[in-house]
Every structure is written in C-alpha cells, then in structure tokens.
Symmetry: C2
Subunit: 334 residues, 2 copies
DNA sequence: CTGAAAGCGCTAACAT
DNA sequence: ATGTTAGCGCTTTCAG
C-alpha cells in the first residue's frame, strides 16, 4: 500500500505538499495539486489512519458500547447514532459489552486505546462509581445511554422508567383491575427497580395495597415470563392484570395464560414494556410501553458531538415513555 | 494520557523493557516486571493502539460491513462474528453500508484505512467486478457473506437461495395448490432472482406452467407485500398460495388477504422467507424458509481468521435453507 | 507556494 | 536480562 512518501516522489514534490492536498489545505498551486492528485490515483494511495491519528492525536471516530449486538433494541440505537456521527464525517466503532463486567470493561479499554474522540455507552454491569471515575480520567466526552447517574446528569440520556411502570399499571387500574401482578426483570438492574417503583406508586396512589406476593422477579426472557405465571398460580394468587417489565416476558406470560385456558384480555390483561417489533404481531397485539430507542442513539451521538465542539440540533436528554394500547388489555372481568 | 516513555522513566527502565512486559515477552526478570507493572498502574497507562499498529503494521482488528445496523437479521450476524473474533483476542469493527453504493464504498475505505486485518462484507450494491478488484489489490482476506461470486468461491459464505425458493413452492405444491403466486424482492438483487428461479423450477417440475402474471416484483417491505396482493387481485388472477420472498412481504400479504375477508390458510396459504423473530408471533404463525444468519457471521469470521493463520474449527461455506412449517400454510381449498 | 525536519508512541533488531 | 536506536506514515512548524 502506497505511502505519502511514494506519492511525493512520484509527483516530484515534498511529503508536506502531498499532505496539504490530501487535507485540502489552500496553500497549494492548482498545477501541483493536479500533479499530486494524479500521482495519488495512479498509486491507489490510501492515507494510513494510524499514522494520521498518531500525529494529530485524534481519530475522527466515536466509540459505542452496547450490551448485545443482536436484537432490534440495539439495532435501532446503533443505526440512529451512526447516522448522526456520519453526518459530520466521523465514524462509529461499535463493540459489544455482552452484559458482563469483564466484557464491558474490555470494550471500553479497546475503544480508549483506539483513541476514540467520544464514548457512547450502554452499560449494564459497570457500577456508577467506576463510570464516574472513567469520566473524570478520560479526557473525552462520555455519554451514558438509558441510564441516569446522579453525579453526571448532563452526560446521560435516560428514560423515566418509574413513569413507564406507573403508566402500565395505571392503565390497568383505569380499566377496573384491582389485582395486578408484576413480573420484573432482574432487580439488580436499576431500570427494573425503577419500573417496579412506578408500579407500586400507581397501586398505592389508587388506594390499593402493595402486595409482595403479586410481584415475581424474573429475567427479561420469554421463558421467564411463562415461569412467572406458573409461580403466581402456585402461590394461589388471584389476578386479572399482569404488568410485565418487558415484552419478552409479557409474551411468555400470554402464552402461559392461554395454555391454562385463560383468555387475554377477557380473563387477564397483559401489558408489556419496550414495544419491540413483535408486539405488533402477537395475537392479540400487545399493549406495551414505548421506549424511544432511536432517540437514545441519536441524542447520545449529538450530545457527544456537541461536547466536541460540533454544531448539532437541539438535544433532548430525558425522555418520557408512552403507553401503546393494543388488544392485550381490556376491562377487568366481573 | 501516559506514554510508554513516561512509564519507563517512572520505573527506571528503558522503553524496550516496558514494551516487553506489556507484550508478555519472557525476557524480563520478575523484579523489573513488578516495577514496570506498578508504574503502569500508577500512571493509568493505556498503550496507544495507533502507535502500535503503525509500528507493527497490523491492527488485530477485523472489519465488518453490514447493510443496516438495525433489524434482527444483521444483529445475529454481527453477534456471531464478534464472538468468534473475540475468542482470538481480536476485535470487530462494524460499519454500515446503508444499502447504497456510495456508503458501501465509504465503509470499505474507512476500514481499509484503519488497516483491519480482514474484511467481512455483506454488500448489496457493489457489483461483483469491483469486489474482485478489491480482493486482488487489498492484501488481506476478504470474505463475502450471503453472496456467491463465481470467481471467488472460497471467499464466500452463501445460501442456496434457489433451493429456498424451491422448497417454499414445493411445499405448497405438495399441499395440492396449483395456482401459486410469487411476490419477489427487487429483481436487481441476486438473491431475489435466485429465489424466483427456485420457484419457477418447482412449478415447472410439477408439470405446471410458469405464468408471469402470477409474479409480482416488490420491495421486501410489508407495505409492498400488501400492495402486491392488490395488484394480483386487480389482474384477476386466481391463486390459493402465495410464496413471498421475505417475511415482511408475507406478513403484508397476510394482512391484505384478511382485509379482503379471506382466511389464511383456509382460503390462501402464505409462505415467507427469512424466519425472522416475528414469524413465530403472527396469527397464524408464518410458514417460512430459515436462513442460518448466525452461521453466516460465525463462518465468515472463522474463514477470515483461518486465512490469517489462526486455528479455527471446521468451516462451512455453503448453506442449505430449511423450511419451517407453521400455521399459515395448509391444504388447497376444494 | 513549497520543502526540510522534528516529532507522535511504539516495536524490533542489535548491542551490551 | 536490559538498553539504544532506527524506523512505521503522517502532520506541522519553521524556513525559504
């Protein structure tokens, strides 16, 4: 692969001149510019980004860590972030954190070594304090997606998960349900805890009693939703409504209910969370809480870019979830 | 950010020694190793990957281009590829080709400038000849995913799309259908053409006549599937079976049929292609052709890695699609 | 307008 | 076992 030096020889100019034309510097005569361009083309010259980055100490690259490269959730987030970043001629380097501490740390380390200009992080396992430390020591903008760290409010793009849990529960309360179960995600995760808090708030605000026996901690998986229904039944709990903390578990719950000959929504109403694609395709369609995933990616990118001194549009950091009503929720049975 | 030189001063050794401990070279006494490690930690030293890559002329990184970062299709592919690459301590850099020529070229250029050790490409717009040229000039392994370029057979991971189209059609024929429509993707895409060829092969092999009026070229979108049904009806074509070339269009078609009061599968059977997640959640479940997406990613990564001299497991390059029968297909009505 | 030369941080002989 | 030093390819003063 041709180097700048070869090009300079080929065009009978100095490397400095070649560098100038490559970077669009004005101080080059048209005639030499032509010569250089011709030489570049002839040699198929591609600048070595490492050498450039080494010399300039910047990479025109922003790094992103997501929990899992699969799944529509992150897909939309990545796409939105990449769109913004590319608009400014920069590139996005995406790495997976695999939802484990080691892997998330490794991903961040990789990106830091790659001297990305900014970091967009969707982290599940790394605790707040470590992120704060990172933010202090790294000399680049660090943006957190779907997370709210009290010490770093202006670096977070977040969703009001408490409100989401509240909305889902309130919806069922308005439909007349009085026995509402809640299937949560792993409660070591902050978002699961917030959603549960919202559930509880709605319950208590309606003058009902918060009953721990109606709450099952599960795992965000379809099978977990199914198993949770079984556990609820084994506990002999009566319920006509289920608030699941994500769509996967909601679907698992719906299937389990159907298996027991119960109708959704005639016997039991089910509400999910996330509004994934498949929520539109289940039978009945799944009532769920919408997360503006693409917004997360877009705003996170813009926030980082603006920190880098680039001009971006208005940036929104804190989002409110919205309830999407479909067929899986209906009036409480008599 | 601390450099190797600072660490060396801090530990009272030469840069070479620091370099040795960073890279796990054996020729360092335990005591000096300790000293260096301590200095590294104290200074929060992170090796500069650019400097390293510049010096070694390799990046321990493999590049991947996908058409679209969103969508479960590519998500699974990326995840599988990343898993393999990471097993060997390398990293995957993913970029989106956005399904356009410019963008795909830009993505490749970016990765080449980044001196990736290999390239995993899912390209839709760049023609075969350009890829062949790239493969000749770039001095790194170039692997194509979901594509078969006759000149580069051992660099391709592909699916027998002809067979997929055949399987879908044959399935309906076996169920007694004799009027089978086909909704294709954009026919400038090779996979759409192959699937159509498979459809035709099945039709003709069954002694039926290939009727162009039963074939609608569409766009791989849900709305396109819907519109195709309308066009079929406006053509006054009788059909009891529909082979759609992807699940999106199949779902659009199902909805359109239902809107016209037709039952799936009692009046019309529908078969999709891709077996996306939502195919399991539609009502009825969608009979479809499975694509081993994760395999694409995994095998592509392994193929590249083996070309790089790494030891990998057995590599499969050519995959056969499989029919997944669900509720959307049934016996032809009388 | 153009060229010479000093780094950028690291690796890899070659010495010692 | 450890140190010296010449690059890797590019940018960026500083001269001319």
């Amino acid at each position: 692969m041709a180097t700048i030096r070869e090009v300079s020889k080929h065009a009978n100019v100095s490397v400095a001149t070649v560098s100038r034309v490559v970077n669009g510097n004005k101080w080059v005569s048209d005639s030499t510019r032509e010569k250089v361009l011709a030489a570049m083309k002839e040699l198929g010259y591609q600048p070595n980004s490492f050498a450039k980055a080494l010399a300039t100490n910047k990479s025109d690259t922003v790094g992103m860590v997501v929990s899992d490269l699969g799944g529509p959730f992150f897909g939309d987030m990545m796409r939105a972030a990449e769109d913004e970043v590319r608009k400014l001629g920069k590139h996005l380097i995406i790495t997976s954190g695999h939802d484990t501490l080691d892997s998330e740390q490794d991903a961040i380390e990789f990106l830091m070594q790659r001297r990305v200009d900014a970091l967009l992080l969707h982290l599940d396992s790394i605790p707040d304090e470590d992120i704060i430390k990172l933010s202090d020591t790294a000399n680049i903008p660090i943006i957190l997606m779907n997370r709210l760290i009290p010490e770093l409010p202006d670096q977070c793009i977040s969703l009001d998960n408490d409100m989401g849990g509240y909305l889902a529960t309130q919806h069922l309360i308005e439909l007349g349900h009085t026995n509402i179960a809640c299937i949560t995600g792993p409660l070591f995760k902050a978002d699961a805890r917030s959603r549960l808090a919202g559930y509880r708030r709605a319950i208590e605000q309606a003058g009902m009693e918060y009953d721990e026996r109606l709450v099952i901690e599960s795992d965000y998986q379809e099978a977990g939703g199914k198993a949770s229904i079984e556990r609820l039944r084994r506990r002999n709990m009566r319920f006509t409504g289920v608030v699941a903390q994500n769509d996967h578990m909601a679907i698992g719950a719906m299937n389990a209910l159907k298996m027991h000959g119960l109708s959704v929504p005639d016997d039991v109403s089910v509400v999910g969370y996330d509004d994934m694609v498949m929520a539109r395709y289940t039978e009945p369609g799944l009532t769920t809480v919408n997360i503006p995933v693409a917004q997360f990616g877009q705003q996170a990118a813009n926030l980082a870019l603006s920190r880098l001194g680039e001009k971006t549009g208005k940036i929104f950091q804190h989002f409110q979830p919205e309830l999407v009503v479909r067929g899986s929720s209906g009036p409480a049975p008599k």
